[in-house]
């Protein structure tokens, strides 16, 4: 193999000196490759000739060299070029990536049949009939052939004006796993992976309906990120689909890899603290959303699927809500609401009480609190801020450190906060309790992005409360509600179905499944606009 590689290198070097190319490279290839003599020639030609519109060279070796050049072979170590001779004596060249293809399949279904070809093939079409391989494509475009190799296809060059593309893609991806960030007690345990095809297939399996559409496209970023818009054709609002496409158009041509940040490109209010697009790693949640008229966006290399429209109340629900009886689900939702309120307001209410509304604290408790604060040199605000910042530090540290010592960080943090700080008279015990409960409350918020918003707002509430007491809390609270009332999620008011009020939709409390008779009006689904209430769907 080594001698073949050396020989091929020598041929390529030779070709860079005097080979009369009559076609151009793609701009990407030019940009990423070192500026050689060949590049200069090619770039000179590319400025005068239209790109991506050139047939393969006539000479078989030229074909191989050109495709190899496009794929940066031999620097690109995973690209393999093989030469095979058929029974008829015809020479074939196979180009493929050995890390993303099924090598056994290539051997069994491509190389073995090729070696047995006993007739001379003048065209790729003739050859295609002799290979027992499905999904064969024929192309004459060098760029298409090179892209095919990157996509896991095997290019078969036979010296004709066209070449074969045989799909043998076998990308490495992790096995089907649990939804790590959205665990449930009841309900399916599987989660999405980074493989978009797998994610699509699992959705297809979950929703056995022919109206499920995967509207796929490739973005124009460097990574050529693939996205697939999943929706029910008979349900989803066509204007919503059109709008999503329009937004995806706008995030095309971004010179960075965007698979992780696509939601920030397409959401309504990227500068708002609150997320207007939800995400999940659970196929059952996506299936549920799609079947109630929402739209999901699957992104390659992302194990989280974006869901829109995603109103505020929707984002506070969990995957498990629908699997529980409505009473139990509502109990959990009430707990979550309390957790949300505590996470947002507890420290500021404490500061407001201590500094402004002391008469509201029962006398005994007030005396105890005052006694505890006697030796503390800081004002209440500093005391709370000190602990809050420490808590944030511990939280951040425990995420960043390796899992093995993660628990140690927790213990150290608890010791620092719970014991050392109190003993050093830096904070009073009641503040430790307040901050701990606040932390627990923020952990109980199901959506991480909303939890982030709450964490930031908590400091705003804290500062306003220290300045103006409950008045400050009321002012910031009003402004927050006004802000939430003013934003949209893909054109749907963020606070719906609370305001605008939709009495037939599920709001804060989960309804009994027996009442799921109509499609949500807020999402303007085709069914809800037509007033069809015969076929029900759950809107969680």
């Amino acid at each position: 193999m080594a001698w073949f590689k050396k020989a091929f290198d020598w041929i390529v070097q030779l070709s860079e000196k005097d080979l009369p190319y009559r076609f151009s490279l793609s701009p990407e290839a030019q940009a990423t490759d070192a500026p050689t003599t060949l590049d200069k020639t090619l770039s000179k030609q590319s400025s005068t000739q239209p790109q991506h519109n050139h047939a393969l060279p006539k000479d078989p070796m030229d074909q191989v060299k050109y495709i190899a050049k496009l794929l940066h072979h031999p620097r690109n170590s995973d690209i393999l070029i093989e030469e095979r001779t058929a029974a008829s004596g015809q020479l074939f060249h196979l180009i493929y990536s050995q890390i993303i293809t099924d090598l056994i399949g290539i051997q069994r279904y491509l190389l073995e049949p090729l070696s047995k070809v006993s007739t001379w093939c003048d065209t790729a079409q003739e050859l295609a009939t002799m290979i027992s391989c499905s999904g064969i494509m024929i192309s004459e475009e060098p760029d298409v052939l090179a892209d095919g190799v990157v996509e896991g296809k095997v290019v078969v060059l036979l010296g004709a004006s066209t070449a074969l593309l045989c799909p043998f893609a076998n990308y490495q991806s992790r096995n089907v796993g649990q939804a790590i960030n959205e665990t449930v007690v009841r309900g399916p345990q599987e989660g999405f992976t980074e493989n978009i095809s797998y994610n699509m297939s699992i959705l297809r399996r979950t929703i056995g309906c022919r109206d499920l559409v995967f509207d796929s496209r490739t973005l124009q970023d460097v990574a050529e990120t693939k996205v697939s818009i999943a929706f029910m054709a008979h349900l989803a609002n066509p204007r919503l689909i059109k709008e999503i496409h329009r937004r995806l158009d706008h995030c095309d041509h971004v010179p960075i890899i965007i698979s992780g940040i696509i939601s920030q490109f397409i959401e309504d209010h990227p500068k708002s603290l609150f997320p207007t697009i939800s995400y999940t790693e659970r196929p059952d949640v996506v299936a549920r959303c799609i079947s109630s008229g929402q739209v999901a966006i699957l992104v390659s290399n992302q194990n989280q699927v974006l869901i829109m429209p995603a109103p505020f109340i929707f984002q506070l629900s969990t995957a498990e809500d629908l699997y529980l009886r409505s009473t139990s689900a509502n109990f959990l939702r009430a707990i979550r609401f309390i957790a949300f309120s505590i996470a947002l307001l507890a420290p500021s209410i404490y500061v407001g009480l201590i500094n402004f509304q002391q008469e509201m604290i029962p006398s005994d408790l007030l005396l105890a609190m005052k006694a505890a604060r006697l030796n503390i040199p800081f004002p209440t605000l500093v005391e709370v801020l000190l602990l809050e910042v420490s808590f944030e530090l511990i939280r951040e540290a425990s995420i960043r450190v390796p899992q093995v010592i993660g628990s140690t960080i927790g213990i150290v943090g608890a010791l620092i906060i719970g014991q050392a700080a109190v003993e050093a008279n830096l904070v009073s015990p009641i503040v430790v309790i307040i901050v701990s409960v606040t932390g627990l409350g923020s952990f109980a918020i199901p959506n991480q992005e909303i939890a982030f918003a709450v964490r930031i707002l908590r400091f705003v509430f804290l500062l306003s409360s220290s300045l103006f007491g409950f008045l400050g809390i009321a002012v910031v609270f009003s402004m927050t509600v006004l802000h939430l009332a003013s934003i949209y999620t893909v054109g749907v008011p963020y606070l719906t179905p609370l305001s605008p009020y939709r009495k037939n939709e599920e709001g804060f409390l989960r309804r009994s499944v027996l009442t799921y008779e109509s499609f949500p009006l807020s999402f303007r689904t085709q069914k809800s606009q037509a007033g069809d209430s015969t076929s029900g769907s759950a809107n969680s």
Binding site: P362, G469, F470, A485, S499, P500
Partner: protein, 379 residues
Amino acid sequence: MIKAGHISGRQATAIMTIILVTKLMNPIATIIIRWGQSAADTLAFLSGLIMLVLVLPILPLVKDTPKTLFGLMREHFGKVLGTVFSIFLLITLSLDTAVVLRADVVQVQLIFAPQTPLPIIESLILLVAVYASYLGLEAIARSNLIAFFLLIVLIITLFIITQLFYANWMNLAPILGPGIPTLLTQGILHAGFYGELLILFNLRIFVRDYKSFKTSVFSSQIISVSVSIIAFSLFQLVFPYPSSGHLFFPFIELAKLIYFGRFIQHIEAAFAITWLIVGLLRITIMVYVLSFMMADICNTQNVRRFIPSIAIFIFYGTLIPPSLVADVDFKDVQLMQYGIFVYGLLPIAIAVVAYLRKRKNNKKSPSTEPQGGPAHVGE
């Protein structure tokens, strides 16, 4: 025509209810107690009914062509007289907003921040109002719908708790208070307690359809009057007249009574914070509506440019009354008792002129426009 979004009938109802009901929770409510005595609830009912009767004649005028109240006045009184009346209404409403804000601010200062100067509290409240007005009517209306439910829960909770422990049905007597003639007279003079109902006619163009608008006019007035009747009755059950006549903060006094054992006591601030959130939204609506009215008078589309100036105007207006007593007296005498003869009769005048013009056009139409419909009377 200025138009920046739509609001539903339910949202319009919430807006009006909040505007009318929040006054019950600040010192402005003492006006009704003062004149109605032990029959403050009856006086509230009469005032509400009279105000509804006063505005009803202009309801059909906004059926086919959604117009603002100012638009109607310009259409039927002519541009000059219509604008004069519009400016009068704008000034009256601005003063009313300033007076109510002063009452709110004093109450806020009393409960939350006794050492904070009034202008700072006012600035904070107006800051929220300006921010919200910049967000637009749709955001305000949605927030109001949430605040409306909050308000209803607050009122129900407060009254249930206080009535359970402190109500004395003997306090209701005498049921007719100062007597029927006095109640009727004061009912007319204090119809301005619900005078903000006219604001809803300025929001007509934002409401989706006439049916929703009509429903919101009736439902907001019915809810507001009902809540007033219940609130004054229950207040009377706990604080009998003349004790109630000496209380400047009836809502707070009621909330102060609530305690559960030794650990939950003095929770008036907890109730007051809910009222404050609703009260903030009330000021927000008023600032937006005033800016909108100003833009309407200036015949411009941009409401936003008037928001800061209106806020500053209200800020200074709020500082004018030397005391809370003077503030409440101004509201009672100048804005309610005198003002009702102008803004209370305006809708009737519009309706009369509209009727006369329609009649005149109908007479003219066979001879002047044999093949067409009635002449269009427009701006």
